[in-house]
């Protein structure tokens, strides 16, 4: 098994629960070093997909390969780390004992527990019972156990829920380090703005179907949503701006106009022609929220 084996391959993955199709012909790969964000509403099939990848539940159709092996096999389990959505531990154990246990289960020396907990910022809480931890601290213990043993594939279900903004930034820094060392990362999230900047590929699930897959740039082009141009009008410049852009919306000294991606440069040229009537210009590409709403609405219809 070489290091370059594709960590995760899903082809035509299908899962049915009685009458409901939870996943329908999902095809997706995650390469070494790639960070893939799985987006979707609650019930879109994100957790189901992850549990199938982990071998926790069986699938009905298609093929799943983790490091070239079936999900749940010894080889797949050895190579995979998981952080469940609301991770839980026995409240009577301390952070150190819990991580030492997980180290032993992965065949690693238990003495490494303190180092791993220090990496997630829990060095001061090592010997306190997990029952006394805050939700954010428990989430960090969850993250710590996912770091054990240099996993080739990390499956992280809503990993930043319960973390404060600083912890979130630390978390993505850790993720970048892991990806730089060649780990493949599949994470789900509701916080679209944070995955926008921190992942290589975005996959959108809607009612069990993979409705879009690509980089944020690809998805922008695909959604074909207009850009927002925000003009700050100069003193006394409003009549000229109104005349030039009858469709603009005014609020105080600001004016907003929407243009298709392809007309962006032409529109900026027209704004430049207004000269001193315009004090400032800002350009906002459609956010992932907009794209996500557009794509999931359009494809689920």
């Amino acid at each position: 098994m070489t290091r370059m084996t594709t960590p995760l391959t899903l082809s035509q993955l299908t899962k049915r629960y009685a009458q409901v199709t939870a996943l329908s012909e999902v095809t997706l790969t995650v390469e070494p070093g790639q960070r893939v964000a799985l987006l979707g509403h609650n019930g879109a099939g994100k957790s189901t997909l992850m549990k199938i990848v982990l071998g926790l539940i069986p699938h009905d159709g298609g093929e799943v390969r983790v490091m070239g092996a079936p999900p749940g096999s010894a080889l797949a389990r050895d190579a995979t780390a998981y952080l469940p959505e609301s991770v839980a531990f026995h409240p009577a154990l301390t952070g150190r004992e819990q991580i030492a246990h997980y180290l032993r289960l992965r065949g690693r020396p238990a003495s490494g527990a303190a180092d791993i907990l220090a990496r997630v910022g829990l060095a001061d809480a090592l010997d306190r019972r997990i029952g006394t931890y805050s939700k954010g601290m428990r989430q960090r213990v969850g993250l710590a156990q996912a770091l054990i043993g240099d996993p080739r594939l990390l499956v992280l279900d809503e990993p930043t829920s319960g973390l404060d903004p600083v912890s979130r930034r630390d978390f993505y820094t850790l993720l970048d380090e892991l990806a730089a060392r060649g780990a493949a990362i599949l994470l789900s999230s509701h916080a679209l703005t944070e995955v926008e900047a921190r992942t290589d590929l975005i996959a959108i699930l809607s009612r069990g179907k993979l409705v879009a897959q690509g980089s944020i740039t690809d998805l922008r082009a695909r959604a074909d949503l207009p850009l927002t141009i925000q003009i700050t009008v100069a003193e006394g410049g409003e009549p000229a701006v109104r005349a030039a852009f009858p469709g603009a919306e005014f609020a105080g000294r600001g004016a907003q106009i929407w243009v298709p991606q392809t007309d962006k440069l032409a529109m900026l040229g027209r704004i430049a022609e207004l000269g001193s009537h315009v004090a400032d210009v800002d350009l906002f590409p459609p956010s992932l929220e907009d794209i996500y709403t557009q794509i999931s609405r359009r494809d689920a219809a």
């Binding site: 389990r77 469940p84 609301s86 246990h101 032993r104 289960l105 992965r106």
Partner: protein, 274 residues
């Protein structure tokens, strides 16, 4: 592979220590043993045996009730508790099989049981020997009682894990465990006793009763210890009626039940989809 079983056993042992299970089990066994030693010492002279042998007969009756109870109390939460706390899905993504998880938990719980029994039986032995030097003659029976209590405990641990996996919620599992204890340890004997009385030495007593006693690990355990220690005189009721059962058959039943119980636990555990 063994290292993963030991890892599970080590963490379960730590949890048992911290939840005071070890302390509770030890205290319970010591307390009951002391009460029995004090109460059971009076009629020794009449029976003509040493003091410890008489106490072993009493301890056997005690163990028939307490060992299954302690085993069920420790085991009912083992799988349902993991399901309810939400710790099971993560554990099952680790390179450890469900069989290893069950065996690891059983090893830890059996160790707790062994500690409690060693403390309880030990106290009884010390009390007997301190007041009667001939009580040393009873040590082999006490040792037999100790080691044969472990497969009895393992059988009920397996049954407890099975109920835990079937119920999937600790409250449901607790109810089932208490129900099983009542049926296997209390009602089973009462029903057989009633049947024996009604049958009055007929076919039921001669052909069905031995089989009915052997199918219950608690009864098999009692038969084995009482017949092997020749202390049947001190035992009443059913055991006296079942003199026909050879000790090796009772021993086989005591030793086979743990395998059946743990196998059932693994099968029930495998049916859980996290």
């Amino acid at each position: 592979m063994m290292s993963r079983i030991f890892a599970i056993a080590a963490i379960e042992m730590r949890i048992a220590l911290r939840n005071r299970w070890v302390a509770i089990a030890v205290a319970m066994m010591v307390l009951f043993s002391l009460v029995l030693s004090a109460a059971g010492s009076a009629p020794t002279g009449a029976l003509g045996t040493d003091r410890l042998s008489v106490i072993v007969a009493s301890l056997t009756s005690l163990a028939v009730y307490l060992v299954p109870l302690v085993a069920l109390l420790m085991s009912f939460d083992a799988i349902a508790g993991e399901v309810e706390r939400g710790t099971l899905p993560l554990l099952l993504t680790y390179p450890v099989s469900r069989t290893q998880i069950v065996l690891g938990k059983a090893l830890a719980h059996l160790a707790v049981l062994a500690m409690a029994l060693a403390a309880g039986y030990g106290v009884a032995a010390i009390a007997a020997i301190a007041s009667d030097a001939s009580a040393l003659n009873g040590l082999p029976s006490l040792w037999r009682l100790f080691w044969s209590s472990l497969p009895l405990g393992a059988a009920f641990l397996g049954a407890g894990y099975t109920l835990s996996a079937l119920a999937r919620r600790p409250s449901g599992a607790a109810g089932l465990a208490i129900g099983l204890w009542l049926v296997a340890v209390v009602l089973w004997d009462l029903a057989l006793l009633a049947a024996v009385v009604a049958d009055d030495g007929g076919r039921f007593t001669t052909s069905f009763l031995p089989a009915a006693l052997l199918t219950n690990p608690a009864d098999a355990f009692r038969l084995y210890n009482l017949s092997a220690s020749q202390a049947t005189a001190a035992a009443a009721g059913l055991a006296g009626a079942a003199n026909a059962i050879p000790p090796f058959a009772a021993l086989a039943s005591v030793l086979l039940w743990p395998l059946g119980g743990l196998a059932a636990a693994v099968l029930a555990f495998r049916r859980i989809t996290p």
